[in-house]
């Protein structure tokens, strides 16, 4: 499935300082927020705590009041019952039938531990059975009875311990009976405290609370409180203990959840903090790396460019801009506009991106690079060595292409200069060698020829004067013959030396050969080379590659030297040398034409002769050697005038079947 969005290969604008500052500020805000939340949590805890205490207090007060009222209600009911019983007891000697009264107090026996009538003027200690009280409690009882009489209303005493050990104390109650304003007696009842509490308090209350008579020494604790119940003449102090945790669960649960969330946030924040620190470290390293890369990129004289997958130029470095004289921004802007080819790329080289991509795909070109030309802003050409490489993502996908160019104009110029100097050196070396050979040869031949000539002239002089006899002539002529032979031997030696190198013809393909030789040939500045060759290998002929190369190069160099001299008159735009392969019946021709002035008709006959150069400084050997080489290959060399270039046209004809 093709990815819809191409990978982003635009230049990374990494402003890490800004980014990290942003992160730090965000983190500071986050920490502040978190502190706020933590403070709120603590305040919440405190508030909840206070609220709970307040709630407990409120409930305790309510419980106390409720207890008080409940007890009072029940005891008032008992007071009313006792008032009825007192009326009955006053009237008869029999103890009143309490059960007949009905009501809660009397439904089950034992609720009221003791009740009885104490008529006026009876001592309390006497009237009450001994088991019901301890001697110490008599005073309280008496005080109770007196209070009833004095205040004409019910009074309480206790709780007082009974005489029987192990029994709970009793609460005493006395209700006076007045008859026409006169006190007649008290009806006294006692209720065991535990029964009182058990019977009067409802079950729902007792499920949650344990109620007991308060100890004086008992310390009030968290879940225990003392509820005082004020009765006339006595104070009942009840200790109420809450059973079970009755604190409200929901707020605590909510709070716990909030705490968990908070803790989670803290943890996340800590991780975020660590992550941010790590990211900042990475960013710093990335920034260093980026600075390093930038410095490296700036320091190299290599021109670097990057394209995306579609061939859009997305990056140009400064070195490239300096190389071609265009600011990188300008090139990028033009590339973005898409307005035709970029100004630094000569159009005849084809599409720049395609060239680069081909060279990047070709392993050979990746190794040694490709040579191209770039156009500087001021118009001159720059020769560059270019390398290309695909921009591969980790997934192996090609995200774009990188191309580097190295300016080799100077190197090429130096190489050309060196090659030219070398050629000149070799030429002058050859010249010196030829001069030396010629000088030696001249001396070697001069001696015998000069002597021979002297003898001949001397003989002739004598013959003319008729001063010589036949006997004298013979030895002189013999001597002349010997010297002629001696001269002949010198010539034979020279010939033997010249023929020492035999030629070795091998079948060879002409088109690549001509292409290579023509490209290597050293043409003067400004002379253009035009190749017109058949595709592929072209015709094959048996030839000595070295000799044929020498001949062809001689022709091309010769044409290159003449080419610039003719364009002024011929009206052609630029001096050029054309090299082509022509075929005729049974022969193939290497044809070199130029835009020069051509060979004048009077020189056409001698142009191939040795030592007949018409060029200043020429030795006049080049074309002679060409002809010798052509003849050595059983071919010939032909001179004519180029019909279109108007200059000289040399054709080296080679037979296809020797």
């Amino acid at each position: 499935m093709p990815t819809a969005t191409p990978p982003d290969v635009d230049t990374l604008d990494l402003d890490t300082r800004h980014a990290s500052a942003l992160t730090r500020r965000a983190l500071a805000w986050l920490v502040t927020l978190l502190l706020l939340v933590a403070t709120s949590a603590v305040l919440m805890v405190l508030f909840l705590r206070a609220e709970e205490v307040h709630e407990a207090d409120r409930r305790r007060t309510a419980d106390t009041q409720w207890l008080d009222q409940t007890m009072r209600f029940h005891l008032r009911r008992l007071e009313a019952d006792l008032g009825v019983l007192a009326l009955q007891a006053q009237g008869s000697r029999q103890p009143p039938d309490a059960a007949a009264l009905g009501g809660p107090w009397w439904q089950s026996p034992g609720r009221v531990a003791f009740h009885g009538w104490i008529p006026a003027a009876t001592a309390a200690g006497d009237a009450l059975p001994a088991r019901t009280h301890t001697p110490d409690g008599v005073d309280d009882l008496v005080a109770m009875l007196e209070t009833t009489r004095g205040l004409q209303r019910a009074a309480y005493a206790g709780p007082l311990p009974t005489a029987e050990p192990g029994q709970p104390p009793w609460l005493w109650l006395a209700v006076p009976r007045f008859e026409q304003g006169l006190f007649v007696g008290d009806y006294v009842a006692a209720v065991a405290i535990d029964r009182l509490l058990a019977d009067t308090l409802p079950d729902w209350f007792l499920q949650d609370h344990r109620v007991a008579l308060a100890d004086d020494g008992a310390m009030p604790s968290e879940d225990t409180f003392v509820a005082p119940i004020n009765l006339p003449g006595a104070q009942l102090r009840l200790q109420v203990q809450s059973l079970g945790d009755q604190a409200p669960l929901a707020p605590r649960a909510f709070f716990a959840v909030a705490l968990v969330c908070l803790a989670g946030m803290l943890l996340a924040l800590a991780r975020l903090w660590r992550d941010t620190a790590r990211r900042q470290r990475t960013e710093a390293r990335l920034q260093t790396q980026l600075a390093l890369r930038n410095a490296m990129e700036r320091s190299v004289p290599l021109g670097l460019r990057a394209w995306d997958r579609d061939g859009r130029l997305i990056q140009v470095n400064q070195a490239f801009g300096r190389m071609v004289g265009w600011p990188p921004q300008e090139l990028l802007r033009r590339a973005a506009d898409g307005s035709g080819p970029l100004p630094h790329w000569p159009a005849e080289q084809g599409d720049e991106f395609e060239c680069m991509r081909q060279s990047a795909s070709d392993p050979d070109a990746q190794q040694v690079g490709r040579e191209w030309q770039l156009q500087h802003r001021d118009g001159h050409r720059i020769e560059v060595l270019a390398h290309g490489a695909p921009l591969l993502l980790a997934s192996g996908e090609v995200a774009g292409w990188i191309g580097s160019v190295l300016d080799i104009t100077e190197r090429r110029r130096t190489e050309r200069l060196a090659a030219r100097q070398q050629a000149q050196l070799e030429a002058s070396g050859r010249l010196v060698a030829v001069g030396e050979v010629a000088s030696t040869l001249a001396h070697e031949l001069n001696q015998p020829l000069g002597a021979l000539s002297s003898f001949a002239t001397g003989l002739l002089n004598r013959l003319r004067d008729q001063r010589i006899g036949y006997d004298e002539i013979v030895p002189v002529v013999e001597r002349i013959e010997r010297m002629a032979e001696k001269s002949g031997r010198v010539i034979q030696r020279v010939n033997a030396f010249a023929r020492r190198q035999e030629m070795s013809p091998q079948p060879m393909a002409l088109a690549p050969f001509v292409s290579r030789v023509a490209s290597d040939a050293d043409l003067p500045e400004g002379v253009q080379l035009v190749l017109d060759l058949p595709p592929g290998d072209g015709p094959r002929v048996p030839a000595d590659a070295m000799l044929l190369e020498h001949a062809l190069r001689n022709l091309i160099v010769n044409a290159g030297q003449w080419a610039p001299l003719g364009t002024a008159t011929s009206g052609l735009p630029a001096p050029c040398v054309r090299v082509e392969l022509v075929t005729d019946a049974g022969q193939v021709g290497l044809r070199v034409s130029d835009t020069g002035p051509g060979v004048p008709a009077d020189q056409a006959a001698t142009v191939f002769d040795a030592f007949s150069s018409h060029r200043p400084g020429g030795m006049g050997m080049g074309l002679a050697i060409c002809r010798s080489i052509a003849e050595a290959h059983h071919g010939r060399i032909e001179l004519s005038r180029s019909p279109d270039l108007l200059g000289a046209q040399f054709t080296l004809w080679l037979p296809l079947t020797p």
């Binding site: 001396h443 001069n446 001696q447 000069g450 002597a451 002297s454 003898f455 002239t457 001397g458 004067d465």
Partner: protein, 204 residues
């Protein structure tokens, strides 16, 4: 004639050629031998032209020429040069050699040149001898005769000369006759011509 060359064929051919034109030639196989023979007095030192090959072993033509100059050799020296030696030959000519001949040469032209050189040298030699003689004669004149000679050469008449020198014209005539006799001339015109040709002046 002296022909100095280390190549036997060439040397002998040259002698054969010169002799065919009636010149007497001696052949020498090397410069050292020739110089040695001159020193020993075994070689003819009369008016003769020397043909020197410029390229010889062990003593080259130029070195031989230097030695000849050192010996005060008065006669013309011609160099024979091969290809490439022309520069050396030109330098030798500037240094006092008579001429040079480049091989290969037209043989009879060479002989012509040699003869011309010989003739010129002979003339020069004769001039030298005459000049020497005239110089000696001039030196033998008395001071009064020299005074008279100067006046005569300036074209004055005897009468004027007598006035200038404060002597009688007859005395002047006497001196004039003596001068002509000593210098072996017949007339004032011949005397002036000979002095002018030899580049001599009357000193003192």
């Amino acid at each position: 004639m002296h022909v100095v060359d280390d190549d036997a064929d060439f040397r002998e051919g040259m002698v054969w050629l010169l002799e065919s034109r009636g010149l007497v030639a001696h052949a020498w196989t090397g410069g050292d031998r020739f110089v040695q023979a001159l020193r020993d007095g075994t070689a003819a030192t009369a008016c003769c032209v020397v043909l020197l090959d410029i390229r010889m072993e062990p003593l080259s033509g130029l070195a031989t020429f230097e030695q000849l100059k050192a010996m005060g050799w008065p006669w013309p020296v011609l160099f024979l040069t091969g290809h490439g030696d022309v520069g050396m030959a030109v330098a030798a000519v500037k240094n006092g050699a008579w001429d040079f001949l480049e091989k290969p040469f037209q043989n009879n032209l060479l002989v012509d040149k040699v003869e011309a050189a010989r003739k010129a040298a002979t003339e020069w030699h004769q001039n030298e001898q005459e000049r020497l003689r005239l110089q000696q004669a001039l030196a033998a004149l008395s001071s009064r005769e020299r005074e008279v000679l100067r006046e005569v050469l300036q074209g004055h008449y005897n009468k004027n000369i007598a006035d200038h020198l404060g002597i009688t014209p007859r005395t002047v005539e006497f001196h004039r006759a003596n001068i002509f006799d000593k210098l072996q001339v017949q007339s004032t015109v011949e005397l002036a011509h000979r002095l002018g040709r030899l580049g001599l002046e009357v000193s003192g």
